[in-house]
């Protein structure tokens, strides 16, 4: 895969390193001379000096044949312009923008840049999970984070123990998918009766994680 990385700060540096190590062809674009010198030491001709917001620079980097452009500078507006230029001017199929201000995520979507990564938001959501639902382990986000695949352990004393799944007061659109009991996994049915020690994989709307936790564990604080 041919990847263009815009912005040679710490994120761009380590991203380029990882991409090259994984066997990809990479061009890293850095605007400041001082930083570029350092990057050239590390990456040789894979690093180029220039402003990735400019048509000429992207052309020089071969944007027209790039499979992916990742804009990871520290400025959201720069990342937006790089992605828009890549997408519209050079028809790059996939563009990813780093976002510093989480508020900009919806703006980027509105302006046609769908794939964004915000470290501020990621760290914040980790902190939130730690505080509120430490015993519900997020496994994956679906539908741009509106749905979550989570894991929860049914512990001794929880209100769901010895109850059938259909009798639980689960929040709307929350589905118990797979149950791991001992060494076996089974698909959860309405008449499946939960036991202490069961591990459940469930899909829940992100804003119902807390309600989901209460339906399974109530006020119990697990000790694992």
């Amino acid at each position: 895969m041919y990847v263009i990385v815009a912005g040679g700060g710490k994120v761009g540096y380590y991203l380029t390193k990882a991409l090259i190590a994984a066997g990809n062809e990479v061009t890293l674009i850095e605007r400041t001379r001082r930083r570029y010198d350092l990057l050239q030491e590390a990456f040789g001709d894979c690093a180029i000096l220039g402003d990735a917001c400019e048509v000429n620079t992207l052309e020089q980097a071969g944007a027209a044949r790039a499979d992916l452009v990742a804009a990871v500078t520290g400025d959201d507006e720069d990342n937006l312009v790089v992605c828009q230029m890549a997408k519209r001017k050079f028809k790059v199929k996939r563009v990813i923008a780093r976002i510093n201000n989480p508020k900009n995520e919806s703006t980027f979507q509105l302006l046609g840049i769908d794939e964004t990564v915000s470290s501020t938001k990621l760290i914040y959501s980790l902190i939130e999970q730690e505080v509120e639902v430490a015993d519900v382990i997020p496994l994956a986000a679906l539908r741009r984070g509106h749905l979550e695949v989570v894991e929860i352990a049914v512990v001794e004393g929880a209100p769901s123990v010895n109850r059938r799944v259909r009798d639980l007061a689960l929040p709307p659109n929350c589905t118990l998918a797979v149950l791991v009991r001992g060494e076996t996994a089974e698909v959860v049915q309405g008449d499946t009766t939960l036991q202490a020690g069961d591990l459940i994989m469930a899909i829940t709307p992100s804003d119902s994680v807390q309600a989901f936790r209460e339906a399974i564990l109530g006020g119990v604080v697990p000790t694992r």
């Binding site: 402003d51 917001c53 400019e54 048509v55 400025d75 959201d76 507006e77 703006t107 509105l110």
Partner: protein, 163 residues
């Protein structure tokens, strides 16, 4: 008409004062309070401290009832982003962004954002004066490479700070 001007540099401040003199209501946004001094003591419009890619700041400046928006900061990308937000999200009828980089200005004009490149305009007007040929219409100065002024080569352009 209510107009929001982003960026209170020399151009932004002068534009704000022009519009006010002509009887329009004007709100100026800048991220440095010091910049508002350029507006002079007679300026009666509103000034707002903040960044122009922030919805809340734009709302405070009255973007929802604005008939026009001008992005005049010295950062091309800030101007591009705010102009798009104002056009797409707030649907302000007349939106213009100042973009120094001629090629970027052209690219965004193709994407439907009205842009003005002071680089092309300034150089073009000065050239026509020096060569003693008649001045042209503004649009004619805005086309890079079309006989107006040479477009900077990549290396020259790369050394310019832009954002």
């Amino acid at each position: 008409m209510h107009v929001v001007v982003l960026g209170c540099g020399r151009v932004g401040a002068t534009l704000a004062m022009f519009l006010e003199t002509e009887g329009h209501s004007v709100a100026v946004i800048d991220r440095e309070r010091d910049s508002f001094r350029r507006l002079g003591v007679g300026f009666k419009g509103k000034t707002h401290l903040g960044i122009g890619i922030d919805d809340d700041v734009l709302r405070k400046a009255g973007i929802e009832r604005a008939g026009g928006f001008a992005a005049m900061t010295n950062g091309d990308n800030t101007n591009i982003m705010s102009a798009q937000i104002v056009k797409v999200k707030f649907k302000v009828p007349r939106v213009i962004a100042r973009i120094y980089d001629p090629l970027r200005a052209e690219a965004y004009r193709e994407l439907g954002i009205e842009t003005i490149s002071p680089t092309l305009l300034g150089a073009g007007v000065c050239r026509d004066f020096l060569l003693d040929v008649p001045f042209r219409r503004v649009e004619e100065y805005q086309v890079p490479g079309h006989g107006a002024v040479p477009v900077p080569r990549p290396r020259d352009a790369a050394s310019e700070r832009s954002g």
